[in-house]
Symmetry: D2
Subunit: 365 residues, 4 copies
């Protein structure tokens, strides 16, 4: 209720702060009998972790995960799965200069006013570091979904500032630090980022994430619709300011005759719906886009106020991501997987077995 | 858990179908001592109800609300408030021709696959008619928020198909059936809608909704962030396909030096954040935009399939809104109010009293 | 969260007051496809309703239930099922004399202090009348459990004041107004009650309720154990002060060699556990006992205080049950059924299909 | 939803197994600003821990708690508080002989049938060892309750097998390993336990726990009544089979004129209610009793079945408590404190500030 638990039946309770001794999560409700080891989880954590290129924060941590419970002889038992990641490269002194002021665009201000106290080290609880346990939990969800239904979740960056990234192929994504589905644009992206870093500034980004092989029937009307829960999950990721399902804002100028995806005996012929109708999955691919704001921790001096409300100037010198969108792709994938497994279990509770899908002949190549 | 309850502490459990005997909701968790009569609720219901202009469905119902419980001598008692609205103008025969087929872009298909059964009369549970109880519940939330904090919630249509609506003033909104904040564009909107209706088609729309006088500190990290819950609420409204907070997708091309709202002793000087930082309200206005897809029930014949998966052609003759966005403004307002009251109570639980806000000198005139 | 919803997956949200216009509930999460009409529900409501003998309150109401939603052509659709019962025999004047004072042992006092306001008519929200919607919801749960697993729920009174009732046979229960499994003791019970009524006093009772044909595996450790949820359900019934599972308080003097129910290839040879081990059903009968306190509304004058804290004398003249335990058997049955269906759905969510049980060779004849 | 989280607003998510690497919990919703260190928690853990006398399991572990998050510079921040306790004295081989059979009266059987897999080492998840994190969380709750309202929670053993323990004084409780409020009976209890241990058997017990200084108004009707939640909490403790509030089963033979606690300007003159009326606290002491069954793991050979359903004989040789009731007092205290803090926060959410209590002139000396 205080907001640190995600999900209704496959619940993930997240804990920790950026510069505390450890971060982690407890998964409750994972079906028993799933083969699971740390290695199944570490891969996604490595994709998200800092320090992998010059374009992200230089904080250097292995983010090694330890399974504390819920697994016996390599299989989940149905008991809660506690995952622990020790923090190993905290440098609290980096943040000394911002303790008495509020960074424009940062949660500094709101945490202070909400709780009357805050852990200022590295953003404390509001740090994007807390997405690591979600990536870990998402890896468990992905594995179960893959084994049960053949569901796959994948994502890519589609825009970095003004640079729109053309989709060349999903295999490109793994060949560059930007999660771009286009290796031919990497040089342009690197040049863009280098200039930005030099300037001491940050930039926004746009991401796309999708799930394929999704069963039909997932989602609970009236409120816990599949798309509503996806919006909740994505908007809850640090720095996200907008979410679209399928055609998204493009539907504003669409007519009904264009937007409604025609059904044929071979399947749907388009996917403006993004795989959801009436809040319930159609069996088509789930398609989600999101906007990520530029990091608030920038080196450029900004006008602000201090704890007393007096004018102050803020400069941030710590190690920060100039574009938080770069490392957000595995996070968005994890959150989508967590929404899907939760709704798969909810569907099973009320309606029993999950169904095979109608073919999606509009699938992106 | 089956998705018909909205909220955590101020919960609204919705029931009913478009063409059943009645629709309604049960509010649990309303603070005691709030003065409340049917008249406090009926106003917003009247703004939402069908049949008010030629541009919306011609279904004609008073949508008169009855308070069944939770109020004694004109005041809430802390007990659940049950609100009942009898359906009075159901014409089930209107839908007879679509029982055996699936409308492209409609929840027909997914309800059928999820539950193995569906109430086809007027869309049954998936009908936008089920937003009426939410508008009723939202009116209760609005009243409490206004009396406690002076919070006001209001909305308007900002785009109808290709027609962008300029914001002339909030008082314009009440003077036209489109909820447009610009009476000088009404003729253009009417012409646009008349052509569309003649064509037998439908169109999308874009809405804006905001809350002013919001206390600082509302929202629960890590997941139940205020903006995440707003996204959940808005994406859960029928036909919504995209949600933005503050700068929304505009932040993709913003730099950090531009996006971060500067703090001065007099208040924030801009509001790109849309009133939320780190998932917690800043005390600035909450600013939300959403995209609404064109109605799937259109008169134009469409290719589809029947229950056996064989090809079929679908035409819909019932009474439908050619632009569901037109009546959606009071719905979006209600949902925003429901999110805010829920988070106000949650904040009070953990942190005690709610605080006064920092002035927002960037407020829209 | 304000406490008016029972269950996690098969949720029942209760509303209404004793003397308001109506009482009722909304069931969310009922599996689709269950054949259901008002007649399936009315039977249990009739067993609970007032005015059926001289030993219970003389309030005379048919308690006719109306299904407002969630059922289409005689089958549940998966949408919420709203059940409405109009109040028809409220006599508010009966209570006029207690508005300014607190009855010893009554919720008057606590409602007043909690909410700063109360609906005093007939106990308002705290009235046992609010168990009627639970009996209605329980009837739906019973039907589903019976059709799915052959589970049956039944109960009886085992003690009325000092009169211990010997168990002669389950068929006796339906032949007397006390729900006694022994018709030969009815005369004694009637004599006892007549003397009590003459005295203007009330008395406690002890009930027993059991479920047979329960699948093995229901219950969620660590906290939402099946027995913990049964205790929660029973202690939540008006006037219940004690709950036992299986051997109950008898286990205090049992040794491990006696208490532990031996397993044989033919099944368990005893049932001290009451059908639950480690919070999970064994497949044996679930056995529950409860203590019900004497009604607080008695005719005998009692010392008390008024709203100002000054001394006052309270006499209650309205229509009351001198032993609320008499009508509590169908209520306890309903609550047990609601716990079981909820856990059946929860089990299905995490673990998939529900299993057949081990034979219980210790079943009560 | 899978049952490992306790509470609604002050939530405790428990993880771990008896013989895994660690056990622990995550508290979410703790109010910010509470002074908290490991020392505040360790005291209660030491009262519960094994190996403190010859009458409890000889497993020897320090149960040292580590705070991983949620505390900054000695104060809670409002973020989740993760508590970790490493297991240090697991001897899995102790259990080797019971892997293929089911112990009568043990959760072995039900875990196996529910999950199709179980962690057999030391009872795995069903071990009473998992109460340690609850005692830790309860210590946090106790501290907050004490500082906010002056609430104190305390408990004692009132019966060990046939030996009824007379209440001599609360200060006695800390002077003996039985948590008996009577040091003069200790020798008798030791003799009783020594004979039992020699016999290779186990025995039941009865505990009493109470809270003083409880605010009036805590508890949420209709279902989440304070007493219903206490029953849920207590019945959820390992081995508990019965729960009573106030007069408990004694009320079966009470008349209304005797049971109803009279109110005078000086306060209540008795406390048959156990501090709860209509599910809401009266401000009197909360009084709870519970029955604890004898341990199922006994040395005496018992008939049972193996995994194939064939006859088998079970003897348990590991280190076990011959009376689990002995160490259960701090556990029951912790659970009562957790119920109270949760309801205090819930009350604050809906009704605002918590009130001072009416004097309880019936308090136990």
């Amino acid at each position: 209720m205080a907001g640190s638990t995600f999900g209704q039946l496959f619940t993930v309770t997240n804990f920790g702060e950026s510069h505390g001794p450890a971060i982690g999560c407890v998964i409750d409700g994972c079906p028993p009998g799933l083969a699971l080891t740390e290695a199944d989880i570490q891969g996604d954590l490595d994709r998200r972790r800092p320090g992998t290129s010059r374009h992200v924060t230089q904080r250097n941590e292995p983010d090694a995960v330890e399974i504390l419970s819920g697994v016996y002889e390599g299989k989940t038992t149905g008991a809660p799965i506690a995952l622990l990641i020790r923090n190993t490269d905290q440098r609290s002194k980096d943040y000394g200069n911002i303790l008495q002021t509020f960074r424009p665009g940062h949660a500094d201000y709101t945490y202070w006013h909400k709780y009357g106290i805050r852990d200022p080290r590295g953003g404390g609880r509001s740090s994007a570091r807390l997405t690591a346990p979600m990536v870990a939990a998402g890896a468990v969800a992905k594995k179960w979904l893959r084994e049960q239904f053949g569901t796959e979740v994948r994502g890519c960056m589609t825009q970095l500032g003004e640079v729109v990234i053309q989709h060349e192929g999903w295999d490109h994504v793994h060949q560059n630090p930007f999660f771009a589905a286009n290796v031919s644009q990497i040089e342009a992206l690197e040049t863009y980022m280098d200039a930005l870093r030099k300037e001491g500034n940050s930039i926004g980004a746009r991401l796309y994430v999708e799930a394929t092989g999704v069963p039909v029937g997932l989602g609970e009307p009236l409120f816990d619709k599949l798309d509503a829960d996806i919006a909740f999950a994505m908007m809850g990721i640090n720095a996200v300011k907008g979410v679209e399902i399928g055609a998204g804002f493009g539907c504003v100028t669409q007519k009904g005759s264009e937007h409604g995806d025609a059904l044929t005996p071979e399947g749907f012929t388009s996917n403006h719906a993004g795989g959801v109708l009436g809040g319930i999955s159609t069996g088509q691919d789930i398609r989600v886009s999101m906007a990520i704001k530029p990091t608030s921790s920038i080196r450029l001096p900004r006008p602000s106020i201090d704890l007393n409300g007096d004018p102050a100037t803020v400069e941030t010198f710590g190690r920060h991501d100039p574009c938080v969108g770069i490392r957000a792709t595995p996070i968005a994938e994890a959150m989508l997987a967590l929404v899907l497994i939760d709704h798969a279990l909810r569907h099973r509770a009320q309606c029993g077995d999950v169904q095979v899908t109608t073919p999606d002949i509009a699938r992106r190549g």
